[in-house]
Symmetry: C2
Subunit: 200 residues, 2 copies
DNA sequence: GCACTAAATTGAACAGCGTTCAATAGTGAG
DNA sequence: CTCACTATTGAACGCTGTTCAATTTAGTGC
C-alpha cells in the first residue's frame, strides 16, 4: 500500500494532471472522475485530496495547462512575417483548428462556469492574458492609430466574438441559415470588424 | 401511491418542466436532478422516465422553454420604432440583461454540449431561428444593400459574437484589460461591425 | 537492531447521482 | 365482483465527490 515518498506532492500533482488529460482525451471531459485519475496514477482518491482542494481545483489546473498548450499551438502555427490582417486570420484559423482537434479539452476550458462569488485565480488570468497578447499583437500590426486601451479592448471584443462562433459551431453544432463553417464565420467577423475599426 | 390518471403524460411533462425551472432558478443548473424534480411534482423517478427519454431530453426541453422565454423577453423590451442600429443595440442590451438576471437558465442554455454524432432536434433549431430572426430583422433595418444570404450570415456572426462576449463576462467573470462591462464590449462589437458592414 | 514518532496513504463510508425494471396498486370493462 | 391492463413505484446497480479514522511506512534517537 502506502509508498511514502515515492513521489513528492508536486510529482503527484503532475502525474494526476497528466492522467486527467489522457482521460479527457479518451473519454471526453464528462468522463473525468477522481477515482479514474487515482487508479491511473496508482494512488487512491484520498491522496488526490491532499494535493488538490477538490475536483474543481484540479480542473482549473488542467485548464491552465490547456491554455499553455493552446499558446504553444498558436505560436507554432502562425508566423509573423505577414501583415496584421493576415496574421489575425491565421491566428483565428489556428484557434479553430485547436478547438476542433482538441475538442474535449477545449470544451472543458470553455465549459467551466465560475461559481457565484468566486473568481479565477491570478495565475489563470495571467495565462489567459498571454493568449490574448497574441491577438493584441496581431491587431496592433494592422492598425496603430488607436490608443493602447482601445486596442486592448478591441482585441478582447474580437476574440470573445471568435470564441462565441466556435462555441455555436463546435459545441452546439447547429446549422442555422447560411451554412458557413466556423472558419468562414470567423473570417467574416474579422474582416468586417477590421474594416470598421480602421475607419473610425 | 399510484394515482392513476391524475395527470396525463402531457400534464406530467409540464409539471416536470415547471419544477425543473424552479430548481434551476434556486439551486443553479448543476443542482438539477431527476429525484428533485420527481419529489417536487409528487411522483417518483420512474415516472419521469416514462415521459422523458432521459435527463438530457428533459434538459433540451427546458432549454426550449428558455428560448421561448428569451424570445418574449427580447420582444417585450425592445421597441422597433428606432433605426436598425439602435434596434440592434437595444436587442443586445436586452439579451445581456437576460443572461445576467436569468443566469442559471441562461447558463444551462449555453452550457449544453451536443454529444458526438448527435444533433439538436428540429423544433429546437426552429426556436433558435426565431430568436435569430429578431437579429436579422434589426440588421436588415440598418443595412439593406447586401443580399439575403449575406444578411443572414452577418446576423449569425454578430450574434455568436455577442454571445461569446456574454460567456466571457458572465460565465468566466474574468476581467482582463480594459475593464469594460459586457454591454460596453457588445456595443463596441456592434458599432465596429456595422461600420465595416455598411462600407463594403 | 529496535522502538518510537510523525507523516503518507488508504479505503470504507456517506449522501447523492442517472437509469432500469420487476412488482404493485388502481381503473374501467364485462 | 372479477379480470385485464397499465400507471406508478421504489429498490437495485454502478457510478459520483468528498471525508477521515485507521493503517502503513520512513526516519530518528537510542
Amino acid at each position: 500500500m502506502a509508498r511514502r515518498s515515492d513521489h513528492s506532492r508536486e510529482e503527484i500533482r503532475h502525474l494526476a494532471l497528466d492522467a486527467a488529460e489522457e482521460i479527457i482525451a479518451s473519454d471526453g471531459y464528462k468522463g473525468l472522475s477522481a477515482r479514474k485519475i487515482a487508479k491511473a496514477i496508482g494512488y487512491t482518491v484520498g491522496t488526490l485530496y491532499l494535493v488538490f482542494k477538490n475536483l474543481d481545483d484540479l480542473i482549473i489546473q488542467v485548464n491552465g495547462r490547456t491554455l499553455d498548450n493552446l499558446y504553444d499551438w498558436l505560436t507554432e502555427r502562425h508566423g509573423d512575417s505577414m501583415d496584421g490582417h493576415q496574421s489575425l486570420l491565421s491566428l483565428t484559423r489556428a484557434y479553430i483548428d485547436y478547438a476542433e482537434q482538441e475538442s474535449p479539452r477545449w470544451n472543458l476550458l470553455t465549459d467551466y462556469v465560475v461559481e457565484n462569488g468566486q473568481e479565477l485565480p491570478d495565475w489563470y488570468e495571467a495565462k489567459l492574458g498571454k493568449v490574448f497578447g497574441l491577438v493584441e499583437h496581431s491587431l496592433a500590426e494592422c492598425n496603430s492609430h488607436h490608443d493602447d486601451l482601445t486596442m486592448r479592448r478591441a482585441a478582447r471584443v474580437l476574440w470573445a466574438g471568435v470564441n462565441g462562433i466556435c462555441i455555436s459551431k463546435i459545441r452546439h453544432r447547429f446549422s442555422l441559415a447560411g451554412g458557413q463553417s466556423a472558419t468562414e464565420m470567423a473570417e467574416m467577423l474579422i474582416d468586417t470588424f477590421l474594416r470598421g475599426f480602421s475607419q473610425q
